[in-house]
Point group: C2
Chain length 237, copies 2
C-alpha cells in the first residue's frame, strides 16, 4: 500500500499538472518495462473481458436511472460500446479454444466486489465511476497488452483504445457541475477514492508481486491520463 | 376491457392449440385490415423505439442479476440485440428529420409504468417478462408497420423480426422448470398476467378507438404466436 501512496504523491503534485515526458517516450518506456508483468493470454483476456462486462452493467444502470431521455439515449451508446468491447474480447478468448465463462470466472468475485464498492450513492457518482474506472482500466490493459503475442496485442489495443463512455458522461457532468459547484466538490472526492480502488485492481492483475519500482512509470502514465480526463470534466484529480 | 377478455376467450381455447388459418393468409388479412390503425410515422417510430429501450433495460437488469456467468453471457447477447433494434429505430426517426428524444417522450410515461408493473418478483419472472412482452410487441409493431410507407415498412419489419432474446431465455427457463415444476406453474400464471398488460399497450398504440372487431384477427394472430412461444418454454399459454 505504501507503493500506491508514494505513487500518488509523486504523480499528482498538489495544485499543478504533473510534469510528464512526451507521450511517445513514455509509451516506449512502458513497452520495455511492462511486458514482463503481463499475465498469460487467458488470464489477461478473462480479466479484460469481465471488466468490460462490469462497465456495461454500470452504464446500463445509469441508462435506467437517467433523469432525462437525452441522457438516457446518450448513455445507451456508451453501454453498447462497452458491450462490443466485451463481446470482441470474448471472441478472442474463443479463438484461444477456451470457454469464456471459465476464463472469466476466477476474476469475477474480486471484480464484482470492486463494482459493488464503487457504485456510488447517486447517479452522478455512478457516471463518474464509469468514466474514471473504465478510463484507467482501458489504459492499463492497453499498456499491459504490450506483453502479449504481437498480433493479439494489436487486436486487444484496437478494441480497448476505442473511445468509451467518455464524451457522453463528460458532457453531462461538466454541464451539471457548472450549475452546482458543490456537486463538483463531491464528485472530485469520489473520483479520488475511485483512483485508489482502481489501482488496486490493476495491481492484482500484474504477474508477480515484486519489482514494482520497474512499473512505476506506467502507473505515472495512468495517473497522468486520468488527470487529463478529470480536466475534461472540469474537476481536479 | 370486455374486448380483451372476449379476445382471449376466443383465441385460447382451454387445453387446445388455437385453430389458425395458414400463416400467410392471416398476414394478408392483417395487411388489409390493420393499416388503417397504424399511427403516423413519428408516433409509430417513437413508440417502437422506446419499447426496445425498455426491453433493453429489462435484459440489462437480467444480466446483472444472472446467477451464473453462462446465463449472464447469454443475456448480454440479448441485451445487445435489443439495443441494436433501439438504435436502428432511432436512426429511422432521425431520417424523418425529427429529434428521437422528443419523438419518444410522449410515450415514455405509459411505457415506463408498464415496465415498472411487469418487472416481476424475481429473476425468472423478469426473464419471462422480456420473453413474453418483447415477443408480442415485436409481432404487433411488425404487423402495424404494414400501414407505413412501403420502404419504411420493410425497414421496420426487418429490424423488428430479427430474433431477440428468445432462444437464450427459452433455454434457461426450459431447463429450470424441468427441475422445478412449481416454478413452471408460477411462471405460467405470470405470463398470463403479462399478456393482458401487453395487449393494453398494443391497444393504446392503435390509431382511433373504434372498430376493434376489424382488428381482432390481428390480435388472434398475436396470441397464436405467443402461444407458440410459450410452447417453446414448455408452458401453457
Amino acid at each position: 500500500m505504501n507503493w500506491f501512496s508514494r505513487l500518488r504523491r509523486r504523480s499528482i503534485p498538489s495544485g499543478a499538472a504533473p510534469q510528464l515526458p512526451a507521450r511517445r517516450e513514455t509509451n516506449e518506456q512502458a513497452r520495455v518495462d511492462f511486458s514482463e508483468f503481463t499475465p498469460d493470454i487467458l488470464p489477461f483476456l478473462g480479466q479484460a473481458a469481465y471488466i468490460q462486462l462490469e462497465n456495461f452493467e454500470n452504464l446500463a444502470r445509469a441508462v435506467s436511472a437517467a433523469p432525462t431521455l437525452t441522457a438516457k439515449e446518450g448513455l445507451t451508446r456508451s453501454a453498447a460500446g462497452a458491450l462490443s468491447k466485451h463481446h470482441e474480447l470474448i471472441e478472442l478468448i474463443r479463438r484461444q479454444k477456451a470457454e469464456p465463462d471459465e476464463t472469466m470466472a476466477p476474476f469475477a468475485p474480486a471484480i464484482d466486489a470492486f463494482r459493488e464498492s464503487t457504485l456510488g450513492s447517486d447517479w452522478w457518482e455512478l457516471l463518474v465511476t464509469s468514466y474514471v474506472t473504465a478510463g484507467i482500466l482501458d489504459d492499463f490493459f492497453t499498456l499491459l497488452a504490450a506483453g502479449l503475442p504481437e498480433r493479439l496485442a494489436a487486436e486487444v489495443s484496437e478494441i480497448l483504445r476505442r473511445p468509451g463512455a467518455t464524451e457522453v458522461i463528460a458532457d453531462l457532468v461538466r454541464t451539471e457541475i457548472a450549475a452546482d459547484p458543490m456537486l463538483g466538490h463531491r464528485l472530485a472526492l469520489w473520483a479520488r477514492r475511485l483512483v485508489g480502488d482502481t489501482l488496486l485492481v490493476t495491481r492484482s492483475a500484474l504477474r508477480g508481486a515484486q519489482g514494482f519500482d520497474d512499473v512505476e512509470p506506467v502507473f505515472t502514465e495512468l495517473i497522468a491520463e486520468h488527470t487529463r480526463r478529470m480536466d475534461v470534466l472540469g474537476l481536479t484529480a
